[in-house]
Amino acid sequence: MDHLHQLNHRSGRSLNSVLSFFLAISLSAAMISCEKVLIKPDASDDPVSVFEEVWSFTEKHYSFFEYKNVDWHSIYNDYKPYVRDEMSPVELFDLCADMLYELKDGHVNLTSSFDRSRYWEWYLDSPDNFSYSLIERNYFRGNQRYVGPFRFLDMGDVTYVYYSSFANPITDNSLNILISNLKNKKGLIIDVRNNGGGSTVNAKKITSRFTGEKRLVGYNHVKTGPGYNDFRRHPVYIEPYDGERFTGDVIVLTNRRSYSATTYFTQYMNALPNVTFVGDTTGGGGGMPAFHDLPNGWLLRVSSSRFYSPDGINIESGIPPHISVDMSAESMAEGMDDILEKAIEILRSGNQ
């Protein structure tokens, strides 16, 4: 009997152990399955779902429906009937691209592995008003200096600087070298024509070198919800740089391809009394874009903020110059850049 009792006791213990072990394993398995319920599954990557995602993300995040008088729901009704399950990726891409094109916004893009949709009309129908080749062959002629991202030319009483992209990082040292060159000069010309934008940080860095006091340069309106007017307003100030600065005359050259962060830069500089703009209206692009992954791997980008000048002007459509100048074909044939020449003339005459 004792033997049988011991055997029963032992087998009972083993059973407990097995049950305990399997209980622990089962609990772990249950936790993993619950995770699948709790984490929202991905949207489908079929054409209808992708189209819906493109439309709805834009609906919730785009910042200029009212400014551009666009009825996004009506556009949905126009395009939705063309979405079919059997569409090829290229057909779907083209359809979505056409729909997004209705926004007429250079910051709205759909990017796939085979194409990127875009709206470039803001400059395609405008004069070019810039030729780097002309600058290089007739003004630089090999005498320019490369300081960080800047190409600058000492023209005696005037300094000319070309900055091709606000995506190119600027160091304090580069700006120190640039500013130190301006002693005893009549002025500085900053050329941001064909500068398609980049980071507004660089725009603020440059601007801070040309002001002696803190200045309100505008208001950034950041999206806070899906409603067309769900925005929070942030004032944007430029603080004077604590170091070498230049508060003499500055002329900024712009054209229609001065876009995005370049338009922001123009707005920042616009708040300074010693700055004049010469050339053409900037391209605009006053909405910081928000990005969104689509279920099929494409990337959607839409403008998702607004920027207003201190007196309430939306910079989305661009900032006009103080002095409007177009480059003429005749001048170009003679190796002259009319916009740059006008800037030099203003600085030398002192009639800014």
Binding site: A24, S28, V201, N220, K223, A290
Partner: protein, 282 residues
């Protein structure tokens, strides 16, 4: 708020885990209680390392979920007596979500946390022990997806209080002593600072590289937040009669989900295979 369906599931899940949290860490020095006490009592410095797999959904960043491998390292001070366990620990995690289906966007996910835990022995029986108490946990979770431009940076910083229970159980299985522990913890109250939940997440600034547009702050309660951690461990002493150090290997499932405005919720699940080393100092 969570969608209704998810909310029901979540509530059931929370009830389940709150119930579960009244048992757990289960270690079995079998019939050798002295061995069990040798490996448990004392003050230890601990070092954990682990290989992990993470699954992330962050509605502010994307409507897709991302997954990928990661690693963790954790340092702490662990004090264990027959009547209580207390522990300080500092954790550092790093994930790199690059699930092939969404290989175009890689999400880097560094995180760090500081935790204090105190558990009281509420079931001091011979064959198993139940320690119950709670922990104060502070962690930060940073997500960076450079491909998403202005929308690339998202941050959650959370402070929370979590009830926790550990069950130790020692049993013989397959002719061997298994010191098994089961742990469970769930959040009941917290506070968070998050990067705003809509639109572009940041603008670059001159000095720090990034400058948020301002954090949003809110209290975390079971209706808008759940953080559940469960673990299954096997504990062993190092070889040698007089060696007071021990280690444990285990699997930890750590999951948190936070409701955001406009249904832009965040969920993060971490599956961790860990090796924890305990070095006795007293």
């Amino acid at each position: 708020m969570f969608p209704l369906k998810q909310s029901r599931v979540l509530n059931s899940f929370l009830v389940f885990f709150l119930t579960l949290s009244f048992f757990c860490e289960f270690s079995s020095a079998a019939n050798d209680e002295t061995d069990s006490r040798r490996v448990t009592r004392g003050i230890y410095y601990k070092m954990d390392q682990g290989a992990t797999w993470g699954v992330l959904y962050d509605g502010r960043m994307s409507n897709l979920h991302y997954s990928g491998p990661g690693g963790l390292i954790n340092f702490g001070r662990h004090a264990q007596r027959s009547s209580y366990i207390s522990e300080w620990s500092l954790a550092r995690l790093q994930y790199n979500y690059s699930k092939p289906a969404h290989k175009n966007t890689v999400v880097e996910n560094p995180g760090a946390g500081l935790r204090y835990m105190y558990l009281k022995n509420i079931h001091p029986k011979k064959n198993y022990y139940i320690f119950a108490g709670g922990e104060i946990n502070v962690f930060g979770n940073l997500r960076m997806a450079p491909r998403l431009g202005n929308s690339y940076l998202w941050v959650d910083m959370v402070g929370e209080i979590r009830p926790r229970a550990d069950l130790f159980f020692n049993k013989v299985f397959l002719r061997r002593n298994w010191n098994i522990e089961l742990t469970a913890a769930t959040s009941v109250f917290g506070y968070t600072m998050r990067i705003p939940e809509y639109g572009v997440s940041f603008e670059l600034s001159e000095d720090a590289g990034v400058k948020t547009q301002g954090f949003e702050q809110k209290f975390l309660l079971p209706h808008n937040y759940a953080h559940i951690t469960t673990g299954l461990f096997i504990r062993e002493s190092f070889r040698g009669e007089s060696n007071p150090n021990w280690f444990r290997v285990g699997y930890v499932w750590d999951f948190y989900t936070m409701a955001g405005a406009h249904n832009l919720n965040t969920s993060n699940a971490l599956h961790q295979l860990v090796l924890e080393l305990y070095f006795r100092v007293r």
